[in-house]
């Protein structure tokens, strides 16, 4: 037994692979938050007056709110005055117009992350809108998308080039006062991504954004807005990484999706923000509001997430099923190792008739981690014939971790059908020994067993990212055998 534990300790001490800092001069605001800071952010970005008003309203509302405490996570109070709310890589005069103009150091950073932009873009046919700290620095495949009429750009560009769309849809799914972190984001968001797919258009490629938090003590508050017009289809992937730092960093993003009649949006996330070290020091606080609205009939929104990072995750990608026959899906793998805490799940709000939702959540806990599934299925009186299926499975590795499940259901229409299945299992000694006896190493065996456990979720990821997700999972759990 003892040789095994030593091995486990050695493997668990594996360092975070993406922990490096890119040395680029940042154009940052000093720490602190007041109306002046909100106004300064808006000015730096040359925003139209409606947006500044919107930010200020959000900020005033935020000041009246209190940080939520209901989640099953524990952390020291956040000092919101000790955070810098704006950090942009200083570009010579203008922003780069093509990849060639991008700071080579930045590109090297992406290469370290395993996403060489050029190659990735060319080989995989993926358009990458790379957000480095708060400003988008490179956008590829704009032209090809432009031909299809798809708008895919940084949020700032969208504010400048498509203000009418922004004014119409911004905050229409997640109102500025929705919750504490969404209000904060609405006041200080610096950049993010914007997608508009016009009626009847199937987006010709997977859209992908890599987010990365770089400057120390910078909260990242990005804002993503995706609109699929009537009959449009789009698949979007978001991947995240953050360098290693001892302080905790705050990340409070907002993602809004709007699907009109017969539209489909697939939103996939692979999140490996820095989780803190093996003693629980440092790591990202990830407080994110993600919500999609199936506004039109027969529309569909599907969330797939693989969450392996962050010290604290507070995240509930949700669907508001307003349109008749609309469909919401949530497929999730949440991994928590060492001292990570994850409180994640989804909300499915059924408003329209014959709306359907599916929730499949796979939680994996190792080390001292706490992993919580929190989900709400709400069926309003108007949602005749609504159906929900929920499946929550937890896998425990080792004796010190914990898994919790909090499923909430509110059913206000008697014709609705709601099903819930849940299971908790320990990674089986028998399964492990079976693999070892076949000559497979402990590490490979754990990967295999965990991947099998997560298979139904990985299946939902776009092909090229399913492989990446699987690799990420093995790095996160290496040696975490109890």
């Amino acid at each position: 037994m003892s040789s095994k534990s030593e091995e486990v300790v050695a493997l668990l001490s594996q360092k975070y692979r993406h922990g490096f800092v890119t040395d680029i001069e940042s154009d940052s605001l000093p720490p602190g938050l007041d109306e002046g800071v909100v106004t300064a952010i808006s000015r730096k970005k040359n925003e139209p007056p409606f947006l500044l008003d919107w930010r200020l309203k959000a900020f005033r509302h935020w000041q009246t709110m209190r940080e939520p405490t209901w989640a099953h996570v524990h952390y020291k109070p956040i000092d919101y005055q000790d955070i810098s709310y704006y950090s942009a890589p200083r570009a010579p005069a203008n922003a780069p117009k093509s990849l060639d103009e991008v700071d080579p150091k930045l590109l090297a950073t992406y290469a370290k992350l395993g996403i060489p932009l050029h190659e990735r873009a060319r080989l995989a046919g993926v358009a990458v809108d790379a957000v480095f700290d708060s400003v988008s620095v490179a956008t590829t495949f704009k032209e090809k998308l432009g031909k299809a009429g798809v708008i895919f750009c940084s949020f700032s560009d969208a504010v400048r080039d498509h203000p009418a769309l922004i004014e119409r849809y911004l905050g229409s799914v997640v109102p500025p006062g929705d919750n504490y972190f969404a209000a904060l984001n609405s006041a200080v968001f610096s950049d993010g991504s914007f997608v508009y797919v016009p009626p009847g258009v199937r987006c010709p490629m997977e859209l992908s954004t890599y987010f990365r938090i770089n400057a120390a003590k910078t909260g990242q508050f990005e804002r993503t807005l995706i609109i699929a017009a009537e009959g449009a289809t789009v698949s979007y992937l978001e991947g995240c990484t953050a360098p290693m730092r001892d302080e905790n960093q705050l990340h409070a993003a907002v993602v809004e999706l709007v699907a009109l009649d017969d539209a489909r949006i697939k939103y996939s996330t692979v999140q490996n923000w820095y989780p803190g070290d093996e003693n629980g020091l440092g790591g990202i606080y990830n407080f994110v509001t993600k919500r999609g609205e199936c506004r039109g009939r027969n529309s569909k929104i599907s969330w797939t997430q693989v969450e392996t990072g962050s010290a604290i995750t507070w995240k509930y990608p949700s669907c508001v099923l307003r349109g008749e026959n609309s469909i919401g899906e949530f497929y999730s793998v949440a991994v928590a190792n060492n001292y990570q805490q994850a409180d994640t799940g989804t909300k499915m709000i059924h408003i329209g008739r014959n709306t359907k939702s599916t929730i499949v959540s796979k939680g994996i806990s190792a080390g001292h981690a706490e992993n919580t599934y929190r989900g709400l299925v709400k069926i309003l009186p108007s949602a005749a014939g609504a159906r929900n299926f929920t499946q929550c499975d937890s896998l425990l590795m080792g004796p010190l971790c914990a898994a919790h499940t909090f499923p909430y259901m509110e059913v206000k229409n008697p014709t609705a059908t709601v099903e819930h299945e849940a299971s908790t299992s320990k990674i089986g000694e028998d399964q492990l020994f079976y693999c070892l006896q076949r000559g497979i190493s402990a590490e490979d065996a754990v990967n295999m067993i965990v991947s099998g456990f997560c298979k139904v979720v990985f299946k939902e990821l776009p092909m090229e990212f399913a492989v990446e997700a699987q690799n990420l999972l093995s790095v996160s759990l290496e040696g975490a055998v109890g």
Partner: protein, 250 residues
Amino acid sequence: MLKITDLRARVAGRDILKGVNLEVNAGEVHAIMGPNGSGKSTLAQVLAGREDYEITGGSVTFEGRDLLALRAEERARAGLFLGFQYPVEIPGVNNVYLLKAALNAKRKAAGESEVDAYEFLALIKQKMKFMHMSESFLTRGVNEGFSGGEKKRNEVLQMLVLEPKLAILDETDSGLDIDALKVVSNGVNSLRDPQRAVVLVTHYQRLLDYIEPDRVHVLSGGRILKSGDKSLAKELERRGYDWVAGAEVA
């Protein structure tokens, strides 16, 4: 090939093996018989390297190497195979994937290259046909939703693909109907070879009608009480295990 000398093992504070001696040479098939709780499965698991058992004495060599010093996966790669009494289900992990990983682990340890995917598929299809297994096996999870008989066939299939030097089959015959028993026995017999050895752990003489052993041993109370040729199995069947256990008391 395998030499067990005065092997003693305990689990949860209870002595199970109390000095087992056994020598198996290449080319031989040995049967270990004995009543429930005699330590048969413990012996199989200890040889395969399960960590729940504490070795309290004795030694085991496998082809001259100290077997007990090797980890379970190293023993497997060295050519020791255990056919499990209760093969475990691993949901979501494809049968073929596991088997390919196992074969590649073994080949890697032997300094060979990974098996070609097409060659492997051809190989496994051929072995499956031999084991009368349906093609659906290729797409299913490891033992997932298998019947007892299917699980046992799967064990033998894995054995045929991995071609171990020493196969220890722990009650591979239990829960099989007569047709399945024939298929499984054919599988084991096809592996008989002057370079290999097989140890059958079983309750019943029935299996030995199909796989003819060179030696038969009776394990009872954590010790081998009697050894003989295949006629010993027949005699056991007639006189029961009490005959052997009683002989010791007397």
